[in-house]
Amino acid sequence: MSNVFILADFAGDKATKTTAELATVAARIGAVTAVVFADAGKGAALAATVNQGPVTNVLVVESAEFAKHGVPAVADALANLVKGKTPAALLIASHAFGKEVAARVAVITESGIITDAVDVAADITATQLVFGGSTTVHSKVSKGTPIITLRPNSVEADLTSASPAIENASAEISDAAKLSAISSSQPPVKGGRPELTEANIVVSGGRGTNGDFAAVESFADSLGAAVGASRAATDAGWYPHSHQVGQTGKTVSPQLYVACGISGAIQHRAGMQTSKTIVVVNKDPEAPLFDIADFGVIGDLFNVLPQATTGISAKKS
């Protein structure tokens, strides 16, 4: 049976659910080796958290250079492992770090790359939803080791517990990968809310909030949801750009997306229309977003949301 590499994904010092999602997809292709890059002396602890999903082996690579140089150092070490162990494919999480590592590994190993896949079949055909989810594309890499980045939250992760065999490998990093130096790193500022692209539920506000996101935030908190915003809202300075959902912002695909006071220009739809269930609250009955809503409430968000927030809190208590 062939061997498939996944780049284990971590939040802080724990493997994420995305790691299990990568393993779930990779296991269709072959036996899964999760590659873990760690600071010197930290590898065993990180590897021990890769304990869910169909992972056969964990390959631990330790070096102090990873924290100092980031993407280029990790990519160099990973490319050398790919060259040496020739896996059938390499699967990586589709976020900024993952995509940049994939990009550099593709250049170094002269391999084709596909980003933002939402699924990968046993024959390494990747499925992507392009143009804001309006078109389904199937594609395949035709040169080198197929390198595919998988969008978090796209597949149901096999979360059965795993006890993979742990091996160590040495880090080979070229001087060219040490040209940029990281002097400090801060984890993301968490407002107690989940990360937008990984959240199961996203509640977004738009022009209809008139700059007041309190009702949107309270409703999001009652659902344990992340908060998003339309471009109109971020351009107006009502909410940070990092929360923008849409063509020029983040693409989200949660179980539930609630759009509040957002009319639904293509710009916004492109970032959210692959959500499993879409709920729209808008006082304008002609808002185009109603056309793709599973459930729509024609009404003022400042009346509807507080009532819904109270209702949900009552059900939960």
Binding site: V130, T136, S183, A265, Q267, D291, G296
Partner: protein
């Protein structure tokens, strides 16, 4: 300083896009300068202006580099009208359908041959949305990678420091010249081209190069599309009007669907 900015012409992000024979239909759609590249052009101009400007014969030059069909001159011209000095457009029929790897190979060759100190890119194009080309250019040239910058500080003596902002957190990173920078959209507010800028841009040089002039062999894509199908449109579902119980109706719907 010699500053290069990579830009791409893309279908208007407000337009519906379609695939034809496994490739994006770029002909029958309005085309514009990639939104996210405007931030790169603006940042290049600000860096030049902060260190002696980019007037003719001045301390700095800002060169726009793009790869695309003849028609991409429109997007390049917009970057010139914002204030860039000149431009290089790589146009070759052999590049139709080029993937990110091919694109980065061509851009890296042109950048490497141009003797630039820094090259600035947007984080991604609004059509392909891969955000891999800046990292690929850095890997190909063996230059420092300073990507996803929300702040760029340039020391003309030969050093760049950035604040990198991604979902993984905030990093302070620096590298010596030459290096590849990509900027996120919150970094600045791109200027609108002035009338004077638009008139001046008409006289600026857009040097066209084909693959032979660039000096790279024909680049084929290393991944292929098997099929592309429009997804069925989502049908509208239940719609209720709030007459005092809209919030409760919403909660009942979510409960029924087991979403809460």
């Amino acid at each position: 300083m010699k500053i290069a900015v990579c830009v791409k012409q893309v279908p208007d992000s407000w337009a519906e896009k379609k695939m034809v024979n496994g490739l994006l239909d770029r002909v029958n759609v309005d085309a514009v300068l990639n939104d996210l590249d405007e931030y790169a052009v603006e940042e290049a101009l600000r860096i030049a202006e902060a260190h002696g400007g980019n007037e003719e014969g001045g301390a700095n030059t800002v060169t726009v580099i793009s790869m695309g069909p003849e028609r991409a001159t429109e997007a390049v011209r917009k970057a010139l009208s914002m204030g860039a000095n000149d431009a290089i457009l790589i146009t070759d029929s052999a590049l139709a359908g080029a993937d990110a790897l091919a694109t980065s190979a061509v851009l890296a060759k042109v950048i490497g041959d141009g003797g630039y100190d820094i090259v600035i890119c947007g984080t991604e194009s609004t059509d392909a949305r891969m955000s891999v080309v800046p990292a690929m250019i850095s890997a190909r040239l063996g230059w420092g990678q300073l990507t996803f910058a929300s702040k760029v500080t340039v020391d003309p003596a030969g050093k760049v420091a950035i604040t990198r902002v991604t979902e993984a957190g905030v990093d302070e990173i620096s590298a010596a010249f030459p290096c590849v920078i990509s900027v996120v959209e919150k970094i600045n507010e791109p200027r609108y081209p002035s009338f004077k800028g638009i008139m001046a841009a008409k006289k600026k040089t857009i040097e066209q190069r084909d693959l032979a002039t660039v000096g790279v062999s024909s680049q084929s894509a290393w991944s292929q599309v098997n099929d592309a199908t429009p997804r069925p449109a989502r049908a509208a579902g239940i719609k209720v009007t709030d007459e005092g119980g809209g919030g409760e109706a919403l909660v009942n719907y979510l409960a029924e669907k087991k979403l809460i």
